[in-house]
């Protein structure tokens, strides 16, 4: 194929594939991770509405459940295909990582495959079963979706956690993996807190996303029971998840402090080891590695790291390891900024849920203020940003390692120099995919609204329409 060689040689010479591979992985994962919360928590919200609908004979709740399940069909499909792309990318972008560590890293995925399978099967039965299955039988076909969603995301996070805490592998002198303890791989020490952090995040982000859509509707004057119910289900899920997340996140930060001190130094932007370390809000490292700007709060980083020893807690600095074993200064800046964004937005969302709880406790109603609805309307977007920021902290903070202290990113990547082309292609494809997903979901919402006005929408569990097929009894 000399024609191809002739075409590609001048174009591709000297293109380092590593930054392109990193960009493509970051972009495709960053896209996929937005769909994860919906896949995990939307099913639960749908089931809450479904349960209420059947138990209390609530037509609005049933309509919500039915429409949410149709949106879920779209977001699950997009999540499934973008997830499939990730499994291709392990081979396409990180073949040397997979070749070296696949025997360990792959183990959690074998179980993730199981859960994903269950999810795909039951989501189909649930979405397509509205008219033909009996109400409670139909409800129960939805429950495995919620369970599989949680365990599926725990499995994926277990694989990612293993990259942070690569335990359970024995390596011989030539670097070949000779023995794998699958339990130690799956239940590595980073897994419990990372998985909890992700699952709770899924409920937090999913809850705020759903609530924000109905908040917008209510701000536009659609203050009917249907919108109110949609808002309350979403926001309540988020309002339960948010305080829990504060605790889980704090625990995870302390795990990082104990086990990945260099990542922690990047998070807190600590150039040199010492005690009485200030918590610097924003600011950045300059080219010589000094902290510039920002708002330092004296001693706080030390206190938060270990409240027991207070300001005398010693925080290991970036200088504790050679410069090629820690994130670069600009990576530190990314990690630190992402951390501030995640914690800052998380705190704002936490305050918003306090407002919500206070209003329920003292007034037995939603907050009346328009400002609450306005804040709730942007909460979905803010939650997504903090999710992305949190993921950035975890991934960029691990640099330069792909497997912590065992393999560097540059040793893991493909040698294919054409990656920049696929990156551009992926970028175009995903931007189109994202835009189309939003357009399609909006179009569905408008159609539901029109049908509602025209009162065309049948009751979900109503008598089945005369169909061209003979009725087959279930069970």
């Amino acid at each position: 194929m000399t024609v191809f060689d002739a075409l590609s040689a001048p174009m591709l010479a000297d293109v380092n594939p590593v930054p392109w591979a990193r960009s493509q992985m970051a972009f495709t994962l960053g896209f996929h991770i937005i769909l994860v919360p919906l896949g995990v928590s939307w099913a639960v919200m749908t089931l809450i509405a479904n349960y209420r609908g059947i138990k209390h004979d609530d037509a609005d709740a049933l309509r919500l459940a039915q429409q949410w399940s149709k949106y879920m069909a779209v977001t699950f499909a997009v999540g499934a295909v973008t997830g499939t792309v990730l499994s291709f990318e392990f081979a396409l972008l990180w073949p040397r990582f997979m070749g070296q560590w696949g025997a360990a890293f792959g183990v959690p995925f074998a179980f993730e495959g199981l859960f994903f399978f269950a999810e795909a099967v039951f989501i189909s039965v649930y979405i397509f079963g509205w008219r033909r299955l009996k109400p409670w039988a139909h409800f129960w076909t939805g429950v495995p979706i919620a369970v599989a969603g949680v365990f599926g995301s725990i499995s994926v996070v277990a694989a990612n956690a293993w990259m942070n805490a690569p335990e359970g592998v024995t390596v011989d002198s030539s670097g070949k993996v000779t023995d794998v303890d699958p339990m130690a791989v799956m239940f590595n020490s980073a897994m419990p807190l990372m998985a909890a952090h992700m699952v709770v995040a899924a409920y937090l982000v999913g809850g705020f996303l759903v609530a924000s859509v109905y908040a917008v509707g209510m701000l536009r004057g659609r203050r009917d029971r249907y919108h109110r119910l949609g808002f309350i289900i979403g926001f309540t899920v988020a309002a339960i998840a948010t305080p829990i997340q504060m605790g889980v996140g704090d625990g995870l930060a302390r795990w990082v402090f104990d086990n990945q001190p260099v990542k922690f130094a990047a998070i807190e932007m600590v150039p040199t080891t010492g005690s009485d370390v200030p918590e610097t809000m924003f600011g950045h490292l300059n080219s010589s590695g000094e902290v510039v700007g920002g708002l330092p709060i004296p001693g706080l980083a030390s206190i938060l790291s270990d409240p027991g020893t207070g300001t005398s807690t010693v925080v290991q600095g970036l200088d504790s390891v050679p410069s090629d074993e820690r994130p670069t200064n600009s990576e530190v800046n990314v990690v630190h900024l992402a951390w501030d964004v995640m914690v800052g937005l998380g705190t704002l969302l936490f305050l918003l849920t306090l407002w919500y709880w206070a209003s329920w406790i003292f007034r037995r109603d939603l907050p009346k203020s328009k400002w609450f609805l306005r804040a709730a309307a942007v909460s979905g977007g803010l939650a997504v940003i903090s999710l992305e920021a949190g993921w950035t902290v975890s991934e960029v903070g691990r640099q330069p390692w792909i497997v912590y202290e065992k393999m560097r990113v540059e040793d893991a990547a493909t040698g294919n120099t054409g990656i920049w082309i696929t990156f551009v292609g992926v970028l175009v494809l995903y931007v189109g995919l994202g835009a189309t997903t939003i357009l399609v979901l909006r179009g569905m919402s408008r159609r539901f609204h029109r049908q509602e006005l025209a009162d065309e929408l049948g009751v979900p569990y109503g008598p089945a329409e005369p169909s061209d097929k003979p009725e087959v009894p279930v069970g």
Binding site: A77, G99, V180
Partner: protein
Amino acid sequence: MSTTAAIILFAAVATYAIFGGADFGAGFWDLVAGGTDRGERPREVIDHAIAPVWEANHVWLIFSFVVLWTCFPEAYASIGLTLFVPLTLAAFGIVLRGASFAFRKAVYRTRDQRNFGAAFAVSSILVPYCLGAVVGAIASGRVPSGGRAGDPWDSWVNPTSIMTGILAVCVAAYLAAVFLAIDAHRLSDEAMVAYFRARATAASVVAGITAFLGLFVLRSDATFLFDGMTTRALPLVILSAIGGLGSLWLLRKRSSRGTRPAAVAAVGSLLLAWAVAQWDYILPETLTVAAAAAPTGTITAVLVAAGLAVVVILPAFILLYVLDQKGLLPEEGVDTGSRSVEARSDSIR
């Protein structure tokens, strides 16, 4: 131990080839169904048949990848490095196809449906071709061992890969037409039964000829595989031919029973013949299954996962198929009457 892992890998690949293949093939018939009016009814049958099951069908691909990278990481690395281009194309096609199929179900305007439908149908051909070419590349020994990259172009643009790519498209179309004829029968739509039966007949002839000519391609281009196919795998090759001819005969006889098992037997034994012919290599002539296998702990874990899959997932999968086949999973609860009214009023505008 490694043999068991290889058997699981083969089972996953074969299941994907049959279920995923039928799914891609349905997209092929969607593409060639003609204009909006003429193609309306076939497209409805196709939609009806694959909408509830396509995601589950494609989980087999992910499962194949997972077993490959977990149990045979070195082979996975070599494949990823060498076959970068066709795998990338296949990934793009899968995104386009899955998303546009879901979107087509979700939009109600004819123009939108047509655009998403076109993306769906074109990628339904691209993906099986690319994956078929990947199989050809591996089977003809063009992927080197040791996590090294083979030739980025010759590895998949060669006689064997082109043949296997075309064969994959033909086999997918064949399986799909056989399945769709049965779906149409269940819908009591005799016109569509005849429609898909005719296409199944044509596709079985084309697929059979391609497979037969393919043997000659292998003789000149992939001698190791050819030797295997004509010696120890020969009974399976013959079985595949019998299955194919049998399904052709049943189609001619307008029998509604037996065509599906015959078609599955034809495709299944062809795939098994490939596996037997290249045994005990995972990458022919460079890397054996035993040498590529991951440590025992890993394989045990995968066996446990596979066992759970059989116990937990298989019943669920069968439930989905039974519900689908009984017609218990219609349009996702949408009032079909209002849908066609709206589509019609849109096309008038």
